[in-house]
């Protein structure tokens, strides 16, 4: 059956006017076979393997873009957590791995590569510790490498020693990249219950259960959902809102499914997952905050915001689940504050506080994302901020993350513009009271009762 005009125009409008795109095609490459007792040889292998497998990623994505007429914005690579690869080399300094990844990313023409990663939710290996110690230097010295650390899971609880260490890593990274407004921290994220097939930077990496190579796709489309809701009768009830979002998410995800299948076929690898995430950009209209406001809150952060976000995230998942058998990754709604113009406006208007953001993360797919905090935030306060978010993930058996950027020399309410996709941030106020005694205790917050499911 041929298509109707309205179907065709709806699709064209999505791409032309509503900033719909395939946000990322991410090639996951296992680096487990790159382990070597000799650090230099291991780094050599890492570089070689990434280039060997990733060489035609950009070309293949470009070919699909040309053949289908669908824009694919980012081409990226995710790797095995480097701490696992580095363990055999017994080196204290793992920056050579970051350099190898950075050079490989440059060689194959991609802007970011994820996988400078360690899993320390229950404890450290020597390599994990070396990796964490080397993160500030690695992120300051390279421009494409992204780092992530797992600090908590529902099964293991929260490793508070690791959380405190990570907080110090964040502060050190900000210091080393102070002339860029602490930009290094935009490439650094910590997780509770990390997903092993996340295609989105900065948390992208592939876990140990993943294949040798795998192609994961991240779709976006807050602009499309926003427009669909704008066309909905303002008197329509919330069931109609949910249904509208669900139908739109279905259509968006179908594009991810199509591009994922095609990219995997052309690359000769496995199609992993479609991550159905509403990932905003600073472009006007490409905003999750705008969607929440169309659902009916006056400003994002007002009472009702968490409820509206819960409806949105759930409807996106349901639409996505019908559209693809391979929904994975984070899949929900991202609320990266600095990258979403509506969020920035809400913070500027005094509607959206750090506390409300934290509440919102209980029902969205990630966590405190791209949050600017004062440059002089103490390690204990930052640890507390991280731990709160990790606790939400741990107890609710969901992924949560924190990507906090202590902006050197800036205090609460001040603005910093990183430019490009990272956008503008207004420094959030973590409050006047600290948690030093909690921080000093260290140790581990044990796994919650709901993890005992066997």
């Amino acid at each position: 059956m041929p298509f109707t005009d309205s179907e065709i125009l709806e699709t064209v409008r999505m791409f032309e006017l509503e900033t719909f795109d395939i946000r990322t095609t991410t090639l996951g490459i296992s680096l487990l076979d790159c382990a070597d007792p000799d650090l230099e040889s291991a780094a050599e292998k890492v570089y070689t393997k990434i280039v060997h497998h990733g060489r035609n990623l950009v070309e293949v994505a470009g070919g699909i873009e040309a053949d289908l007429g669908v824009p694919i914005i980012n081409k990226r690579v995710s790797t095995t957590p480097i701490a696992l690869v580095a363990a055999a080399s017994a080196s204290e300094d793992l920056v050579p791995f970051a350099r190898a990844m950075d050079a490989a990313a440059a060689e194959i023409g991609i802007d970011y590569i994820g996988g400078y990663t360690a899993y320390v939710h229950k404890g450290f290996t020597r390599a994990d510790e070396a990796l964490l110690n080397s993160i500030p230097e690695a992120l300051a010295e390279t421009s494409r490498v992204c780092s992530s650390v797992s600090l908590a899971t529902t099964k293991a609880g929260i490793n508070m020693d690791a959380t405190a260490k990570f907080a110090q890593v964040v502060l050190d990274t900000a210091k080393l990249t102070a002339d860029e407004g602490g930009l290094g921290c935009a490439k650094l994220v910590c997780f509770s219950n990390p997903v092993e097939d996340n295609p989105f930077i900065a948390g992208a990496h592939i876990g140990i259960g993943e294949p040798e190579t795998v192609l994961n796709v991240g779709v976006s489309g807050p602009g499309v959902v926003r427009s669909a809701l704008a066309r909905l009768d303002p008197e329509a009830d919330l069931l109609a809102v949910a249904e509208t979002i669900k139908r739109t998410a279905f259509k968006i995800t179908r594009m991810g499914e199509l591009v994922g299948r095609e990219a995997a076929r052309r690359l000769g690898t496995v199609f992993g997952i479609v991550d159905v995430s509403l990932a905003p950009t600073p472009a006007v209209g490409d905003s999750v905050a705008d969607i929440l406001e169309l659902i009916g809150v006056e400003r994002t952060g007002a009472p009702g915001t968490t409820a509206a976000l819960a409806l949105l995230t759930d409807a996106v998942k349901k639409g996505g689940a019908m559209a693809s058998s391979s929904v994975g990754g984070l899949s929900g709604a991202f609320i990266p504050v600095s990258e979403d113009q509506g969020m920035i406006d809400a913070v500027a208007a005094g509607a959206l506080s750090l506390a409300k953001l934290e509440a919102m993360t209980t029902v969205c797919s990630v966590g405190l994302d791209m949050i600017a905090v004062p440059g002089d935030t103490s390690p204990s306060t930052l640890t507390g901020l991280l731990a709160d978010e990790l606790a939400i993930g741990m107890v609710n058996q969901k992924t949560t993350a924190v990507r906090a950027i202590p902006v050197p020399g800036k205090g609460p309410g001040e603005t910093h513009d990183w430019g490009g996709l990272l956008g503008t941030a207004i420094v959030q106020d973590p409050g006047a009271f600290g948690c030093e005694a909690l921080w000093r205790r260290g140790g581990r917050i044990p796994a919650p009762l709901q993890s005992y499911r066997n």
């Binding site: 076979d33 050599e44 497998h53 199509l258 690359l267």
Partner: protein, 166 residues
């Protein structure tokens, strides 16, 4: 011994006038450099070393068998591409677009056009002959029109099939 990589360290250790590799081994750039400067020849199973085709892993072979069997929305009977044209109306727009399609031996299966005031939008669905380079045709069509004239957008019918059919 089968090896996945040949590193510079391997080259130094193995030495010799030549290093014989099997078909799977990938030589790192540093190893190639080390071998060249030491005058060591690296040889693959069929003469001089050439990088192997990337081995995407055991799942890739299975995936290659699975992918073609994944159900797709039913085909729309030979339609290859969907062309939408939006812009300022003037005589000759339809002729220009269809002439370009005709030159590429595309068969227009369906066409509709509306004008609103001085503007128009037009939708054409076309069958593209097998083997025709889609992206070249797309570039030709998208170069039609011009600033303050009209804009052509070309998309593969699969996009619409995946989005609107189950």
């Amino acid at each position: 011994m089968a090896r996945r990589f040949l590193t510079a360290e391997d080259v130094r250790r193995l030495g010799g006038p030549r290093i014989q590799l099997d078909g799977e081994t990938v030589v790192t750039p540093q190893a190639a450099e080390a071998a060249a400067s030491a005058g060591i020849e690296i040889v693959g199973p069929a003469g001089a070393y050439a990088p192997p085709v990337p081995d995407r892993g055991p799942d890739a072979a299975r995936a290659a068998r699975t992918l073609p069997h994944l159900p797709e929305p039913s085909s729309t009977d030979g339609i290859g591409l969907v062309v939408t044209v939006v812009g300022r109306n003037r005589p000759g727009v339809l002729a220009e677009v269809t002439a370009a399609l005709g030159a590429a031996e595309c068969d227009v299966r369906d066409i509709s056009q509306r004008t609103v005031g001085a503007y128009f939008h037009m939708v054409l669905t076309c069958a593209v002959p097998p083997g025709r380079d889609f992206s070249a045709l797309k570039d030709t069509l998208q170069c039609l029109g011009g600033e303050s004239d009209y804009v052509v957008r070309v998309m593969h019918e699969k996009v619409f099939r995946f989005m609107h059919r189950v």
